[in-house]
Symmetry: C2
Subunit: 347 residues, 2 copies
Amino acid sequence: MVERGGSGVPGGRRKQRVSMADVAQLAGVSSQTVSRVSNGHPGVISSTREQVLAAMRELGYRPNSAARALRYGQFNTIGVILFSLSSTGNSRTVEAIATHAAAEGYAITLIPIDVPTQDNVLGAFTRMGELAVDAVIAIMEIHLLDAATVQLPPGVHVVVVDSDAGDRYSVVDTDQADGARKAVRHLLGLGHRTVWHVTGPETSFASRRRTQAWRAVLEEAGRPVPPPLYGDWSAESGYAAGLALAEQPDCTAVFASNDQMALGLLRAFRERGRSVPEDVSVVGFDDIPDAAFFVPPLTTVHQDFAEVGRRCVQGVLHQIRTRGGPHPGTDLVPTSLVVRSSTAAPR
Amino acid sequence: MVERGGSGVPGGRRKQRVSMADVAQLAGVSSQTVSRVSNGHPGVISSTREQVLAAMRELGYRPNSAARALRYGQFNTIGVILFSLSSTGNSRTVEAIATHAAAEGYAITLIPIDVPTQDNVLGAFTRMGELAVDAVIAIMEIHLLDAATVQLPPGVHVVVVDSDAGDRYSVVDTDQADGARKAVRHLLGLGHRTVWHVTGPETSFASRRRTQAWRAVLEEAGRPVPPPLYGDWSAESGYAAGLALAEQPDCTAVFASNDQMALGLLRAFRERGRSVPEDVSVVGFDDIPDAAFFVPPLTTVHQDFAEVGRRCVQGVLHQIRTRGGPHPGTDLVPTSLVVRSSTAAPR
DNA sequence: CCACAGCATGTTTACGTAAACATGCCGTGA
DNA sequence: TCACGGCATGTTTACGTAAACATGCTGTGG
């Protein structure tokens, strides 16, 4: 049996990949005509076009994107840098970015950073700079970013999520402060004297913004501001905070900075015999799909991650297409409060 | 004020991007020497090397990956095709893939498919074929795949997750059957007469495999096989199943095909006044981080997604490096049972 | 003192594509 | 009948990189 390649190209030693020249030869035209057909240019008579298309089909031709990119100086690819896909928010944002980018003919290239140190961020941006990307969407905090973006070649556009750098970068984010205000006001509106708070990690801008807003609402309302408990987004840290809060007899309402920590709170309160919502009300943030099935179903602030992703893509594409420089400004996506059964008036 | 570019290159109309030729000119050497320095080749005297490096720094040179890819016929990129990042399993697998790929100098390009139709899969593979990838990791079922992989150019390697196509493709997956057996045997071992089951979606191979194993264990043990309840991975579908199961007085043990559906079960049982684990034991699958904080903490089958991702990358890299054809075979990652508080002996 | 080995560096070329420019043919109008 | 316009197609070239080959210099051994 003669050795055969998968491509069905006859004639012994086949080339690794079919090029325009191969198609041109088979169709009996020049490679430029193949190029014109491939790109749908006008000015190719239909009989010629058909011949070329037939030859393409027969050889299984596909354009070489590296050559195209070299020619055009564009890659039709957007890079995404983030710390972790583990959080619901990040993975859903990335998914939305990928979907919308695809709709616009862009692929996305992912670089996750396992340990969020300045060095690793720098390295990731350096790699992005060497990679074939036209733009970068960074899902991280600004202070980690500033030194890093210089690693990008000029002409690579940047959009940032989870940051307050609207004066220098194009920023898209959920309206964290507004969401947190809704949560705290909801609890105060139910008649709670004040609201305790479990924060996210210090390194997250979103978390700090939620904490600020929580404090601001309490201060505006002239309520005492209890010391915040420090979490790290994980259910486990929420659980630890819950065990501590269960010891505070005057704690009747808690705003957790995300749903997973709220889940930890629920478990801790249950273990300590404090009923939710009868003894303590709990509000989360994110509205992950599971939140409706917590025990009890969680009142939380809904984030529209898909919209954040959409606007990120829109932002970078606008920069790419207008060849504009950084287009500073902050684009905030609104939130909504979803009231379920984990909140009630104090008794 | 004179118009200035961001690159700091003096002299009016700068080029969009710094090339080797620019560096060579500044350093007073040929571009080939720059290439040698850039790639760390030996045979460049250190004084020359220093000059070139200095010129690179001054101009902010970075290699053009498109030109490199064209030259080498390799892109150092792995494509990943999947249906959704929303499921914990997928997003964590992708994260592991990205991390390990990065460690090997490969970037990953993501193509999510929003609606899992044959046409969309075909389209995704077509786009992958035009994209700059050396290999593809497909996280999906085989029957959606077969027609699609022909869209890839010859020479693009494929590794599949969530499939039983070990005879034709290189498959990496969690050992679904073994995990399911562990779950069901655990429940039988506690003294339950039989085990009810909530399935995942019909379109998931992982789900079908778990269901098969559940049935097989019951049959081997000579126990009655209750009709399975059909879910779709969501907590909501688990909740619906739970409401139905709560009506079955002889139901004392349930194996849910994932943790989110188990969460739905827990809520349904609670609402219907059936205590877990006193009245009903529940086991999930996945061991998502939150599972330890469900009410009660969930007994579940732990999947090592990171290991799955690692082996995927290892698999494609092996194919790339040996230029081997598809390397059929199935590589199963073991699971472990994590016993928490949602299971107990029947009373 | 010269030939030649060995090494640092330069020159040519190819990778696949597509813009820019060139060619050649057909039809139309004077 | 011929000049010219317009159109289908072909030829040349550049994109940035790096292998392959060429050059020229330095030092050493006969």
